[in-house]
């Protein structure tokens, strides 16, 4: 081990954690150029290469690497949450109609495709411009960018390093949700824990929000596929001994490392553009059914990414390549990256739960920087495999039970719903409580699902 591995969890979570989490965390600690420690968040579970919920930072000048496996296939998968300006009472009369319209207008699931088809030049412009490009095309307003990570566009994206296969895979996937654990939810603020920060975020009890969880779609998946393979084959020539092939990586200061970073950043811009277009589609639906609604950004943040950030390690400021795989950046108050209205309270940290248990809005705290390079959890984390879940649950039964609790589910696949049944996930409340108690991020509000569109 080159550095320590640190797991943030309570006793019960440790006991329930798959041994593979320890094994994968230990593998990551063997990579070169690591700084500080390697961290596992309270929602950590067995992933591929990194554990899901893993955080690791590398120093380029110390031989540090960038890992395609450490970012994974779903580059810049993340959550965007919007206020609607509505309360639960206003939503209730149109709930079913709204669920149907969102399901109709926002492509979700296998075989769905968007209405946007990008030409080669549009694809390059999108990969360089991210959400800024999308807004330039009319899919939103400039103010949205203020509340989007990297102001909607990460610098250093290089579309030329994205393969033609990846671009072909994305051609008809702009503005699509995808499938699996990706979703669009209409949510109610069910509990406020920190009134001051909630007010700063514009959140009050019974407010209605919309959360969108998805990533860079086929383009990101193919970038991951292409570079994992290339890094794996190149590893011996680059002098890298990989503890696990899935940790395929390249020195940051190598041509391959730089090419991957250019492609991965293009993937991040694709994800930011995708969530921006889905926001546009969502606004259109709300505009037709609930004209009083004003969908304004709370925040948009990724949880599968490698970012260049400045952190203080052992009292020294360093520029690091921070990999977060199933972990959310959680900048605390005063961070200059945050726009002025968030700077005094810290960054919103958006935590997705399951369809039945709800989600959370947390805030990055002052301690999170020293604890885990300003990182927190990203969701509940699965407790049951998909296979186990579909053996135990029926999609229809899950939908009916949630309907009895007032939660409307729309999905093209009943088996998909069964695999995403709420008991297949860990207790998100416990995950968030542990993150809060550890100081990774502070609880601000709990959100309950009202409508869930699943891919």
């Amino acid at each position: 081990m080159n550095v320590a591995g640190i797991i943030f969890a309570d006793r019960e979570q440790i006991l329930q954690m798959d041994d593979k989490v320890y094994e994968q965390l230990r593998n990551v600690t063997q990579l070169p150029g690591l700084v500080g420690a390697v961290y596992a968040m309270p929602d950590a579970h067995w992933g591929y290469g990194f554990p899901i919920g893993g955080v690791a930072a590398f120093d380029a000048e110390a031989g540090g690497v960038v890992s395609a496996g450490g970012v994974g296939f779903d580059i810049s998968c993340g959550v965007r949450t919007l206020h609607t300006g509505l309360t639960a009472t206003e939503l209730e009369p149109v709930k079913t109609g709204l669920a149907d319209a969102l399901y109709q207008d926002i492509p979700a699931g296998v075989g769905s495709q968007g209405t946007i088809c990008l030409s080669d030049s549009e694809m390059s412009a999108m990969l360089k411009g991210g959400a800024r490009w999308a807004i330039g095309q009319g899919y939103g307003k400039a103010a949205d960018l203020e509340r989007t990570e990297e102001r909607g566009c990460i610098a250093g994206a290089n579309p030329a390093e994205v393969s033609d296969r990846a671009k072909r895979r994305q051609r008809r996937e702009m503005g699509t949700l995808g499938s699996g654990n990706h979703y669009l939810e209409v949510q109610r603020v069910a509990e406020v824990f920190d009134a001051e920060i909630a007010t700063a975020y514009g959140l009050a009890l019974d407010d209605i929000l919309v959360s969108i969880h998805c990533g860079s779609r086929g383009l990101g998946h193919q970038i991951g596929t292409d570079y994992l393979r290339e890094m794996l084959i190149a590893a011996p020539d680059l002098g890298l001994r990989l503890p696990d092939r899935e940790l395929a990586c390249a020195p940051i200061n190598s041509p391959l490392g730089q090419r991957y970073l250019g492609a991965m950043r293009a993937g991040m811009n694709c994800a930011l553009a995708n969530r921006q277009i889905i926001s546009y589609l969502t606004r259109d639906v709300f505009g037709r059914l609930l004209p009083a609604a004003e969908l304004e950004m709370l925040y948009d943040v990724s949880h599968n990414i490698c970012k260049v950030e400045v952190h203080v390690v052992d009292g020294v400021e360093k520029e690091l390549y921070v990999h977060r795989k199933g972990a959310t950046r959680a900048f605390g108050p005063g961070n200059p990256e945050l726009e002025s209205t968030l700077r005094s309270v810290g960054q919103p940290v958006l935590i997705g739960g399951s369809m039945g248990t709800g989600s959370y809005v947390l805030a990055g705290g002052r301690e999170s920087e020293a604890l885990a390079l300003s990182s927190a959890c990203h969701g509940a984390g699965r407790s049951m495999s998909r296979r186990q879940a579909r053996r135990q649950y029926r999609g229809r039964q899950v939908i009916d039970e949630l309907a009895e609790r007032g939660i409307v589910i729309r999905s093209p696949s009943q088996r998909g719903v069964a695999e995403e049944a709420p008991p297949a996930y860990k207790d998100v409340h416990r995950v968030v409580d542990v993150a809060d108690r550890a100081g990774l991020a502070h609880k601000v509000a709990r959100l309950e699902p009202i409508i869930c569109v699943k891919g």
Binding site: D18, G47, Y48, V110, G111, S179, R229, L232, I233, Q414
Partner: protein, 144 residues
């Protein structure tokens, strides 16, 4: 997994976040076909897919394990760009080069009821081996 030497067999194995594919077969070619069937069964029942359209797939890799990942990723890619599902595979292998004819049809959401999109095949828990009795074994975790 019940082993039938003439046919081979596949199963899905437990993985926290994703899905593990495992197969056994009497030959390497049949093994790769069974792994393709296991991949398709993550998405839909392969029996529901009609062989209406044929495609050719070619991959080359430094070893059997990487060839398996390349093969599964080639199918994932074709499914994404052609918006197809596959139900029939015929694999020929020459060393670590694979040529396949695959048949399937465009996704019909009502008939196929596709569950989940596969993002990519990973190198986690990946293996392709032959036991002393000559039976081939493979496993791979795919990200969904």
């Amino acid at each position: 997994m019940t082993m039938q030497m003439t046919e081979g067999a596949w199963e899905h194995f437990e993985h926290d976040a994703d899905i593990g594919l495992r197969a056994v077969a009497p030959s390497r070619e049949r093994l790769f076909e069974k792994m393709a069937e296991a991949l398709m069964a993550v998405i839909t029942d392969p029996q529901r897919v009609r062989p209406a359209r044929h495609l050719s797939v070619h991959c080359e890799a430094p070893d059997d394990a990487m060839l398996l990942v390349d093969w599964l990723n080639a199918l994932i890619y074709e499914m994404a760009v052609q918006r197809m599902l596959f139900g029939v595979w015929q694999v020929s292998l020459n060393g670590h080069a694979l040529d396949a004819r695959v048949a399937g049809e465009v996704v019909d959401r009502a008939r196929h009821r596709p569950v989940v999109e596969v993002k990519g095949a990973t190198y986690t828990q990946l293996s392709v081996t032959q036991d002393d009795a000559g039976t081939w074994h493979a496993q791979c975790v795919v990200d969904v």
